[in-house]
């Protein structure tokens, strides 16, 4: 296999590796290289977190608003579900590129694409969660003299919260994975550390970059799960 040769030619790493142990030259798994080079992953990690946090918060706000509107205007449910599902079918690498002529290279394009992908998951769960609130409870709320707005925010939304947060949880973990491809749109993130052939065959790099993306997804999943338990203590959130 010609792996070591290719690695030796790989631009950025060459300087760091000159005179280093044969482990790196042989493309082994090198803990010492990882320790020495951890700082190169710090900025991509922060960028990755930024992309995910911005996209998911934005996506959650939009999807929640759309869900609340669709809950009032039931006829909107079918077209909005269709639209968000159609977006979800577009493969993410293609989506990042198709947006390039519209919004240019950079984080903006990545955030638009990632935000669009969160819609289908969160929107459906909002609509479904609200629809699942027992009619008796809604009637009782109306009977006690609540206005439609009070009913929505004091009764329906809290009762739908477990399902809404379940949607948020899936959206967050999914977005971490998708953001790994944001380098195609010229945005940053950990995916940039896996974006060339020479980077992707270098074991130590793959372990750190791939490992960080996976860890980030798991961490965010647990974080939303914690939020879920905190906000809806009456539901025993199962670690699904």
């Amino acid at each position: 296999m010609t792996v070591p040769v290719v690695v030796a030619q790989s631009g950025g790493f060459v300087r760091d590796r000159s005179g280093e142990s044969s482990c790196v030259a042989d493309n082994g798994f090198c803990p010492s290289w990882i320790v020495d080079n951890l700082d190169r992953y710090w900025d991509p990690l922060l960028e990755h977190v930024m992309l995910v946090v911005v996209s998911v918060s934005l996506g959650f706000t939009i999807a929640l608003a759309l869900g609340l509107i669709a809950h009032r205007q039931r006829w909107l449910v079918t077209p909005l579900t269709g639209l968000t599902s159609a977006i979800y079918t577009i493969p993410s690498p293609a989506m990042f590129l198709l947006l390039l002529p519209v919004s240019g290279r950079g984080n903006l394009t990545a955030i638009i694409a990632l935000t669009a992908y969160t819609q289908v998951i969160i929107f459906r769960n909002v609509v479904n969660g609200l629809a699942g609130v027992p009619a008796d409870i809604v009637d009782a709320a109306t009977g006690t003299g609540m206005t439609a707005g009070q009913r929505l925010f004091r009764i329906e939304v809290p009762l739908a919260l477990p399902e809404i947060l379940a949607g948020l949880r899936i959206a967050a973990a999914t977005t971490v994975g998708l953001a790994a491809l944001a380098f195609l749109a010229g945005a940053g993130g950990l995916g940039g550390q896996l974006s060339t052939a020479s980077l992707i065959i270098f074991k130590s790099n793959v372990v750190v970059a791939g490992g960080l993306v996976t860890l980030l997804a798991a961490l965010l999943d647990l974080l939303v799960l914690g939020l879920q338990r905190r906000l809806t203590p009456w539901v025993r959130a199962v670690a699904a």
Binding site: M1, V3, V77, T78, T81, Y88, T89, I90, P91, S92, P93, A94, M95, L97, L98, L100, P101, V102, Y117, V120, I121, R124, N125, V127, N128, A131, E163, A166, G167, R169, I170, A173, T174, V176, G177, L178, A180, L181, L184, G191, L194, S195, T196, A197, I200, I201, F202, K203, N205, V206, V207, A209, G210, G211, V213, T214, A217, A218, D221, A240
Partner: protein, 251 residues
């Protein structure tokens, strides 16, 4: 607006007519090259999905039949969702090497979770009374799986294959990083193919994926047993299903 239109126009021209590469040394684009890359793209995706079906379906049909392995089906789905596809490819390439076989392996790994989970769920949601009735008529366990559970689970199973196919076609874009040329080549080798190549290839991938999605949706409708269609139509067919963690695949 005209900038966008001309960029897309140029990208579409790239698909049909060859041109000089950005450095001016080789001819790129045109139906010949795009066709070749699309063929490779389709081949690796097809093989991956096929192998995933052969591996995952019998296992989860059987697990679903005996009603065991819920934990397995659930965790496979969750791991499939949590580990980003780029990371899977990277791990495979770094530790096993590049080329068709390794790319294919990585894609198989990506295709197994939705097929496994959907088959399992499809079988489990078959009415247990139907299975008992079949058993009462003297059907053997194999007959029950083949004649009762499989047909009734078929729409859900094809839903899983559909998710797998879409995910695999999308992820095969990263294959050139692993030394196998697909439609991802113009996307990743930006320096050679330029903006038009990148965008043109992205358009072809999007069309290919949407076609696969539509095709499998049609198959899904065709394989739905008549009885199931009637039952569903009666119960308000426009119900929106919630996204539960087990049915989601990353685009």
């Amino acid at each position: 607006m005209s900038v966008i239109a001309s960029a897309i126009g140029d990208a579409i021209r790239f698909i049909f007519e060859a041109r000089e590469s950005r450095a001016g040394t080789v001819e790129v684009g045109g139906l010949g090259e795009i066709g070749h890359l699309a063929g490779n793209h389709f081949l690796v995706s097809f093989v991956a999905v096929l192998v995933a079906i052969v591996v995952a379906m019998p296992l989860s049909l059987w697990l679903g039949h005996i009603g065991k392995g819920q934990f397995l089906a659930g965790s496979v789905a969750n791991i499939g969702r949590a580990v980003p596809s780029l990371a899977i490819i990277a791990f495979f390439v770094a530790f096993l090497g590049s080329g068709f076989t390794n790319v294919c392996f990585a894609l198989i790994l990506l295709a197994i979770p939705p097929i496994l989970t959907n088959t399992y769920v499809g079988v489990r949601q078959v009415d247990r009374e139907l299975v008992d009735a079949a058993r009462g008529q003297g059907m053997s366990e194999t007959q029950i799986v083949r004649r009762i559970e499989l047909p009734l689970a078929l729409p859900t199973i094809f839903g899983g294959i559909r998710l797998a196919a879409v995910a695999v076609l999308a992820t095969a874009i990263i294959a050139p990083l692993a030394g196998y040329e697909t439609l991802g080549t113009p996307i990743i080798s930006f320096n050679v193919y330029g903006t038009a190549g990148q965008l043109g290839a992205a358009i072809v991938v999007a069309v290919l994926t949407l076609a696969a999605d539509g095709g499998f949706a049609a198959v899904q409708r065709i394989v739905t047993p008549k009885g199931l269609k009637v039952a569903r139509g009666g119960r308000g067919s426009s119900r929106v299903w919630p996204i539960s963690s087990r049915r989601v695949q990353i685009p």
